[in-house]
């Protein structure tokens, strides 16, 4: 019901037809991906995760154009997203519309997020076109939005239980359980639990140390538990509330960078995260819409290095981040074509760490955003002005200066022809990210002056979609050319272990790129259906900070110029077979684009097969996934080798 409504409202924006006709369109539109959006938008829903042999959120979005997943390898390896060469810190990760905020290092490890309770993942360049959302959703260069599964129950069957287990290479065992229950007409809940155990071992090839045998990646074991429960109340679609509690606990070894002649690693990382968030949404007849979000969160991290040669005979560090967050958003249609909104977010965050000379910073952030959307004929115009206030306090040392920044965004679409589904879009977004607390205060023995990193994004693109009545069901094509300028870019350089980075400020970066996406599928014919999608990315991200530097006009580290992702599949009745391919051109791991610092490109294939059947009366889904089908040696981050061929078997029953 909910998705249906969304589709209708989406279609209303795209075309001004009569309601009767609209209903017809909606039925067809269910399979056509939403690409004709104000800003480039890519999404994937849970039924497609197996198509991409995806185990976690990072795997699910790695095919998207403009997306670069930095993967340190293995199940417990850090995985972060960089969109259009801007780095992980410029992507806000939203969990059911509320940001997962990590002020300590500003990037979310996507390996933490299992797909078992995820309904949909979307990546927006700029921001989503929804006017009614928290101010934080407007406050980053791009958005990765994770939507969890909501209870979808009927009166006939007031509950649903899904139980499954995944297992395979790296000693992976991943049992999970989902329970949906309708309590009354208005109340329902959903609970998920998911446990991952893996020894994390895999073979890899070492080049350069004279060894001729494969080495085994050790100390990469993972043990994690994620539990998630949500309670939903809905009087109607225009008056609803939910509260969500999410708990994550993991203990993992950090295999570290491959060091020649020294194969021992013993560092460990423990995470203990909990958050509770509540959302209330109300739409009045006068078309005023209200959205309230509240969140409390605590992120605890423990880092252990038993072999660190200090006086204590090892490191055992504890980090604790607590945040209180409140957001209120209001939207109102001044005229049927013109909507305005206002959102205000306040957050207070406190950070503790038992490390030498720590500043114990706290940060108060207040965001105000005014947004407007205007639709007239073939035009849609949207704009917003975000005002950010940052205030920091420290118990020790010097606090970063208070700041107030204004950030404008403008978006426009034009449908030039009546009889063609061609749309032109453009956006400009000026945004910044605050330096993270680690960048500012982590072992900052001498106070650091780090300015916020400013980004200006310019994008222009064409989208085209067409429904067919022949063999093909539809084709969607999108092309966007973009130009980003980054001033005072703070670059994270992989260090000692994936959990700790060193930072270098390389000043200015110019990013020029092109994203191209194609999606198509055939009509179902005698039970058969073919699926194809392709995404291509070109990125030229050059350091333009200092003309006298040897890195001037060189491509910034870890940024491939060309990336191509292909996905093809065949469905036959309840069986699906899929092939995924990612091709990345070579990169350099330092700012000097010289052969010494070359990281070769890679070309990696995955394959999967999914089968849905019924045993007794219970629907069962079984799948086999193979990652790195051709067992290639490669690494995304140098010295952090990726696994060779690996397998995963899954089986799930629904009661």
């Amino acid at each position: 019901m909910l998705t249906c409504l969304q589709l209708i409202s989406y279609k209303t924006l795209a075309q001004s037809d009569t309601t009767k006709k609209l209903k017809e369109v909606t039925v067809k539109a269910t399979t056509v991906p939403k690409v004709q959006t104000l800003t480039p938008t890519q999404q994937i829903t849970n039924k497609d995760f197996a198509r991409y042999s995806a185990f976690n959120v990072a795997d699910a979005v790695r095919n998207f154009s403009g997306v670069n997943i930095k993967d340190y390898g293995g199940i417990g390896g850090l995985k972060t997203i960089s969109v259009r060469s801007l780095g992980a810190n410029h992507t806000a990760v939203l969990f059911d519309g509320v940001q997962l905020n990590d002020a300590q290092n500003g990037q979310i490890d996507l390996s933490k997020f299992n797909l078992n309770n995820v309904q949909e993942i979307a990546v927006y360049n700029g921001q989503s076109e929804n006017l009614l959302q928290p101010a934080r959703s407007f406050a980053s260069a791009s958005v990765l939005s994770i939507k969890t599964i909501q209870p979808a129950l009927t009166l006939q069957k007031p509950y649903q239980i899904q139980a499954g287990v995944k297992g395979g290479s790296f000693g992976l065992v991943n049992p999970y359980l989902q329970w949906q229950q309708s309590i009354s007409k208005r109340w329902s809940f959903i609970a998920n639990a998911n446990y991952v155990y893996a020894n994390g071992r895999y073979k890899y090839k070492v080049d350069g140390d004279g060894s001729d045998t494969l080495a085994i990646r050790r100390n990469g074991d993972v043990r994690s538990l994620q539990a998630d429960a949500a309670l939903y109340w809905a009087k109607s679609d225009s008056n609803k509330f939910n509260i969500h509690v999410n708990y994550y606990n993991s203990k993992r070894g950090l295999p570290g960078a491959v060091i020649f002649y020294n194969p021992y690693a013993s560092q460990r990382l423990e995470n203990n995260d909990i958050f509770a968030q509540a959302t209330y949404e109300h739409t009045w007849q006068s078309s005023i819409r209200l959205l309230i979000n509240t969140k409390l969160s605590q992120l605890k991290t423990r880092y252990l290095d038993p072999e660190f040669l200090n006086q204590q005979g090892g490191l055992d560090q504890h980090y604790n981040q607590k945040e209180v967050y409140q957001s209120v958003a209001l939207a109102y249609h001044l005229t049927p074509d013109w909507e305005v909104s206002y959102a205000a977010d306040a957050s207070y965050l406190k950070m503790d760490a038992d490390i030498y000379n720590y500043a114990y910073p706290s940060r108060f952030t207040l965001l105000n955003v005014l947004a407007t959307n205007f639709t007239k004929g073939r035009w849609q115009l949207q704009g917003n002005l975000l005002q950010t206030n940052l205030n920091e306090m420290v118990k020790k040392g010097v606090a970063s200066k208070s700041r107030s920044v204004l950030s404008p965004t403008l978006m426009v679409t034009l449908k030039p022809f009546d009889n063609s589904n061609l749309q032109i879009r453009a956006f400009y977004k000026n945004i910044f990210r605050a330096p993270t607390l680690d960048e500012l205060y982590f072992y900052a023995i001498v106070p650091r002056t780090i300015k916020p990193e400013f980004v200006k994004q310019y994008d222009m693109g064409i989208t085209w979609t067409k429904n067919f009545n022949n063999l093909l069901e539809y084709i969607t094509l999108t092309t966007d050319a973009y130009y980003n300028t980054v001033s005072n870019k703070i670059l994270a350089v992989p260090n000692k272990n994936p959990a700790i980075f060193s930072f270098s400020n390389i000043g200015k970066v110019d990013i020029k790129g092109v994203d191209v996406g194609l999606k198509t599928q055939t009509k179902q014919q005698n039970g058969w259906r073919g699926l194809l999608s392709a995404n291509y990315t070109y990125q030229q991200a050059t350091d333009v900070s200092d003309p006298t530097s040897s890195t001037y006009q060189n491509q910034i580290p870890y940024t491939p110029k060309n990336t191509l992702a292909l996905n093809a599949g065949v469905n036959y009745k309840q069986l699906g077979i899929y092939y995924n391919h990612i091709l990345s051109s070579s990169r350099y791991y330092t700012g000097n684009n010289v052969p010494d610092y070359y990281v070769p490109g890679y070309s990696i294939s995955d394959a999967s097969a999914v089968c849905n059947f019924i045993t007794g009366k219970l629907p069962v889904t079984a799948s086999v996934e193979v990652n790195n089908l051709f067992n290639k040696n490669y690494s995304i981050i140098r010295s952090f080798p990726m696994p060779g061929r690996s397998y995963r078997l899954s089986i799930q029953i629904t009661i």
């Binding site: 080049d207 004279g210 072999e307 660190f308 006086q311 204590q312 890195t551 330092t590 140098r638």
Partner: protein, 357 residues
Amino acid sequence: MKQFKLKNLLSAVAILSVLASCQKDKKIVVDARVATSGIYVLNQGNFNANNSTLSFYDYTTKSTTSDMFSAANGTKLGDTGNDAKIYGSKMYIVVNVSSTVEVVSAKTVKSIKQVKLFNGAVARQPRYIVFNKNKAYISSYDGTVAVMDTTTLAIEKYITVGRNPEQMVVSNGKLYVANSGGLSFGNPDKTVSVIDLNTLTETKKIQVIANPVSMAADSYGNVYVLSTGDYASILPGMTIIDNNTDAVKTQSTTLVGAYGTAIIVDGDFAYFLTSDKKVLVYNAKTQTVAKANFITDGTVIKTPYSITYDSTTGEVFVTDAKDYASNGELFAFDKNGKKEYSITTGINPGAIVLVNK
């Protein structure tokens, strides 16, 4: 564990000859270049990036080889090459994070032996090397100085010193070791260990300014110790020890202005890389500043990193680490402090070794 290491070592040697054919991805050309005379620069690379290299600049051909070690051996140095010195016909390259000492031919860089410094599965993390009477002394972050015979290349003893020892110097028949304690933030060590080179035991610890790192000795009985301080309340400074009495003669945070971390002594003069990017010349005989800056032509070095003096020509060589993340540079200055030439080095050029004839 020992078997494992031996196996590695054996295979490393055995594979050497066939390596070029084994490697599919990268062509490693085994280069039989002979370093007759020139400059080796040991580049640390980036921490945990396995990209330490040994640059070589040939005086005759005026050409630079970016990594003599891999060119000669087909294998790489590993992670964070921290110190290199020539003793006799051999060059010893101390690789910190890989925890090895690579013993190679000083002229060809051909590997003679890779000495691994591990205490079980714990890397000792070697830092610096000095020599005396056919013995090499290797300081390691695990609080030891290893004694290695320069003929058999076997480690004969580990002498326990203070925390995280860095540079050492041999003076008056004694080995002075700077115990930095630099890995305990906020609680650095502040001693110099004195080791009797006859008994190979630590005889005393001398109190110096906290976090001592760099050392040098002159012919007037002075041992110079540069300390980094604790980066907060304790300022960096220099301690001068009398090598007869082992008493502290002078301790100052202002004697030579802004302290950096590198010092060398040649003849009557000590050369300091100062934190305000100068090469300060200090008269060891009179114990006064001779020149505020050796560089006379205004050459700007962004991040002075290491320094060497050529006593035959009076030249001074200084490396520049730039932004610590990209390629560095080596500057050659003539005896008048004028730039002669500069060459591109690898990342973080931390040690310079001159090889003449």
